[in-house]
Structure formats: C-alpha cells, structure tokens
C-alpha cells in the first residue's frame, strides 16, 4: 500500500491542505496572496504527479493550466490590484483566529468522515484525494465567511476552486473540455471580481465588506 508514489501524492495533497490552513491563519494581505500562489503550485504539482501515476497525459495539460493561470496570472494581478488600492501593507483583523482554526479542524474531520464510508470500494489514493479536496473546498468557504476584506474573500473563492480541481483529477477520466471551461470561468469570475472591488472602493472608500451591511435593507430603522 505504501509505495513511494502513494507517499508523494499524499505529501502534495496534504501540503495543499496545510496551505489552506495557512491561508486561514495569515492576516497580511500580500502574504495571503503569496500563500495562494504557493497553493496553486502545489496543486499543479499534485495534478502532474497524478498524470504520471495514473498514466493520463491529458492531466499534464490541467497541471499546466493550473500553474499558469492560478500560480502566476491571478496572484500577479491580485498583487497589482492590492497595490493600486494601496492596501498592500494592511493587516486584516481576522475574526478570532483560534475559533476559526478549530472550526477548520472540525471541517477537515467532517470531510474525512464523509468520504471514508463513501469511498470503501475505490482505491486509497482516490479516497484520500477526495477527502483532501473536500477539506480544501470547505476551508475555502470558511475563509470567505471569516474574512471582511473583499480581496481576501476572492482568494478564499479561488482556493475553493483549487479544491475542486484536486477532486476532479482524483476521479479518473474527466474530459479536458471541463477543465478548460472551469479555468476560463475562473478567469472571467476573477475579472468580474476585480471590477467589483474597484466599484466597492469607489462607493465606500474601503474594501471592507462590512461597510456594505448597512445597505442591505434588513436592519430597517423603523423603531
């Protein structure tokens, strides 16, 4: 069971999960972007290793797309946005790091518990990949919930998508068309986000989304 190939797959997927935790923990915006780039690189390495391991050369294309789009283009663009917004030195107040980490650990445990019975019949490698991918997705969601800065929320979304790609490569025989459409939709979503961030800043002079709360219309001041 424990061949070196399995160990390397475990190492790469595991390091993606660890980097998700680092994203959750880190409160400096530039550092968050760098960690995100690192996670994308870990993802592309993991996918490339799967390509070798499963003998599926088309996964190499996926790895390349992940590396170029998410490892290079999106982080550089985000760095530029952050610089233009003038928030690259900012330290974001992460809402209570301790409970967030504990919640994250709970989510990891949950995804392992969910995948274990579902993956009885498949190989250990696929089961493990699915568990890690689900955990990365849930941690991305958690990051989107706990952050208040629009840019780090975008990073949470992108890291969620990293988890999706990891899950997709673990399953055998995903068509290349799906990969490409996912990659492009991510790019387009990123452009929309970029425009959005600037619009928010223009209106409210901040990218802290808690400024939007008072415009939601729920807290009507009828009293």
């Amino acid at each position: 069971m424990h061949t070196i190939g399995f160990d390397i797959a475990h190492l790469l997927a595991g390091s993606m999960l660890v980097l998700s935790f680092v994203l959750l923990y880190q409160d400096r915006i530039t550092a968050v972007l760098n960690v995100f780039a690192l996670q994308a690189i870990a993802l592309s390495l993991s996918v490339a290793w799967q390509a070798v391991f499963q003998d599926a050369p088309h996964l190499l294309v996926t790895a390349g797309v992940a590396f170029v789009v998410k490892g290079i283009i999106i982080p550089t663009a985000l760095h530029r946005i952050v610089r233009r917004l003038g928030i690259h030195r900012e330290i974001e107040q992460v809402l209570s790091a301790g409970p967030t980490m504990l919640t994250g650990l709970g989510l990891v445990a949950l995804s392992i518990l969910l995948v274990m019975p579902a993956g009885e019949s498949v190989s250990v490698l696929v089961r493990e990949d699915l568990a890690f991918a689900l955990a990365v997705i849930l941690l991305g969601l958690l990051m989107m919930i706990t952050r208040r800065n629009a840019v780090t929320q975008i990073v949470g979304f992108m890291s969620l998508e990293n988890g999706l790609v990891l899950a997709a490569t673990g399953a055998k025989g995903m068509p290349l068309v799906v990969e490409f459409s996912v990659a492009f939709s991510i790019l387009i979503a990123f452009i929309v986000f970029g425009v959005f961030v600037f619009r928010i800043r223009e209106r409210f002079d901040t990218v802290d989304v808690s400024a939007l709360d008072q415009f939601r219309g729920e807290r009507g001041d009828r009293a």
Binding site: L11, Y25, F132
Partner: protein
C-alpha cells in the same frame, strides 16, 4: 555481568545529559551573542555560574514555606529522570521500559507544577504573574504535545520511545506528511516549554513580559543552581526528543559493540550541537510576542498536530 553492562549504559546516558546540558546552554548563548555582534561569555560560563551558585548562601524570604525549599530539587529530579528516559545514543537502555512518551510529558508537567506553586509561595506579585502565565502556556502547549505523541505513536504502533526510535531508524516508514507536521508542532511546543524567544526571553530578569524568570525571581544560591540546571537539562531533553523522534539516524539499536555505541554518542552530540546552533539563529530572526498572541502561536502547533493525526487516519482508514 549483562545487568552491570546495561546499568553502565544507562548511567552513561544519565551523566552524559547532565554533563552536556550547561555546555549546550553556553553554546546557544555564545552563538546568540555573536549574531548580535557581541563577544558573549565563554561557552563554559554556565558551569562556572552553577559552581558559584552552589557555593553561595541561599537567601529565603521570611514567609517561605517548606514547599519553596523543596520545589527546586523536585524540579531538578523530575527533569533529570525524564531526560534519562529519552533514548539519546542507543535504544533499549535499561530504564527506557519503565516509562513511555506520555510519562515523560507527565514528569515534565509535575516539575512545572511544583515550580508554579513555588512561584506563588512567597506571595510577591511577580511570582504570581509568572506562575499564572506559565500555567496558561502549559495548558496550551500540552494538548499540542499530546497530539504529536499520538501521531508518532500511530505511525510506530507504540508510545514506547525506544521502539519508536528503533522503528524510525530502519526507515521503513517512508515519506510522511504527518511526521513533518508533527515535527513542526513539536518545535513550537519545545520553544514554548523552554521559554525561548517568541514566547519568553530567557536572557532577562527585567521585563514585564517575562514568564519563567518571574517565577524564579526570589530564588538564590543552591536553589537557583538546581533550577538553572533543570532548565538546561530540559533544553537538552527537548533536543534529544527531537533527535530521537525525527532524526534518529546513527543510534545504536541492536548492535551493542563499543564502536556502535561510540558512533551513537558522536552522532548524538553532533545533532544536539547542531540544534543548539539553529535555535539562536531562529531566535534572533523573530521578535518577542505579546502575551495575548500565545494562544495563536500554540494554536498553530495544535492545528498542525491535529492535522498530522487526521492525515494518518485518511491514509490508514479507521
């Protein structure tokens, strides 16, 4: 005859740890001073300090109870016993079967408990602050330490340190993320437990944020010597644990020839002193933390330890 040899092996280990501990402390201080462009005291200064303290009069506060006088010896004894149980240059030493990794953690906790009580005994404000902070740190560090123990024990199938080291030495374990995470968590815990820099500053008595030094502020003479020796041994103990769990190569396992044992001692000393050089380098690179950041620092260690255990469960199944 065999019994005498085994006893000799164990005695060598105990006195090796005791003899080398002040030197390790001296090396870390020297390296740190050189990194800060000071000349620093010579590396054998801790021996001289201990000698001096042992010959000075011990000054006691008027309201000090028996606890205050007993605590230093208790701390020294528990730490030394714990250090004797960690395999350093060879596995399967005579005492190694009497206690496992969890017992070592418990022994250290006993010493810390005694010291915290002694810190509060005289009733000065500083001692109280130190004790309360020490207890806070240990309550945060111990869960992380236990998770490290669990993840190592899950891989090796035992909590017995000798067997763990023997399993890891023959490298059938392979590449494990869990071990890397466990090592990360262990280093964090070791920094906190030894009152090193991001958590506590071992070099000063005159800072409001001090923890360990605040507890022992009232001690003098032979009592202080015991406490300082115990602190030095504790540092060596954590170095030895790190070497034994994560870098166990070079240890004498089955081969009990004199050559293998000598090789074990040499590699052990090399590992210890390499760590003693790395520690001050790490220390000079970071700044001291605020007290309210400790839970985040040690929470990181806890998270890494918990992840290590989780990852093991994924790859093994339940």
């Amino acid at each position: 005859m065999a019994l005498i040899l085994e006893l000799a092996g164990q005695t060598v280990q105990m006195f090796l740890v005791l003899a080398v501990a002040p030197l390790v402390l001296g090396v870390t201080r020297k390296i740190k001073a050189r990194l800060l462009r000071r000349i620093g005291p010579p590396v054998w200064q801790p021996y001289i300090d201990l000698w001096k303290l042992l010959h000075k009069e011990a000054v006691l506060a008027h309201n000090a109870s028996w606890l205050y006088r007993v605590a230093p010896y208790l701390v020294f004894a528990t730490t030394w016993v714990a250090a004797a149980l960690v395999p350093t240059y060879a596995t399967n030493l005579m005492f190694s079967w009497s206690a496992d990794l969890i017992a070592i953690v418990a022994l250290l906790a006993t010493g810390r408990f005694a010291l915290a009580l002694a810190g509060m005994d005289v009733g000065t404000a500083f001692g109280g602050i130190g004790s309360s902070r020490e207890m806070m740190i240990s309550s945060l560090a111990e869960p992380a330490m236990l998770l490290v123990v669990f993840s190592v024990a899950l891989i090796a199938g035992t909590t017995q340190l000798s067997s763990i080291a023997a399993t890891f030495v023959d490298s059938s374990v392979g590449l494990r993320v869990s071990l890397g995470l466990a090592m990360f968590a262990f280093v964090f815990v070791a920094i906190a437990e030894n009152a090193r820099i991001p958590i506590d500053n071992p070099a000063t008595h005159l800072e409001l944020t001090m923890v360990h030094e605040a507890m022992v502020l009232e001690y003098s003479g032979r009592h202080l010597a015991m406490i300082e020796a115990a602190a030095a041994i504790k540092l060596v103990l954590y170095f030895s644990l790190l070497a034994c769990l994560f870098l166990p190569f070079g240890m004498a396992t089955i081969d009990r020839s004199l050559d293998a044992l000598a090789f074990g001692v040499v590699t052990y000393l090399a590992k210890i002193f390499a760590l003693a050089v790395l520690l001050p380098i790490g220390e000079t690179a970071v700044a001291k933390m605020r007290v309210f950041r400790y839970p985040i620092f040690l929470g990181g260690a806890f998270a890494a330890g918990a992840l290590a255990v989780f990852l093991l469960f994924v790859s093994r199944g339940f």
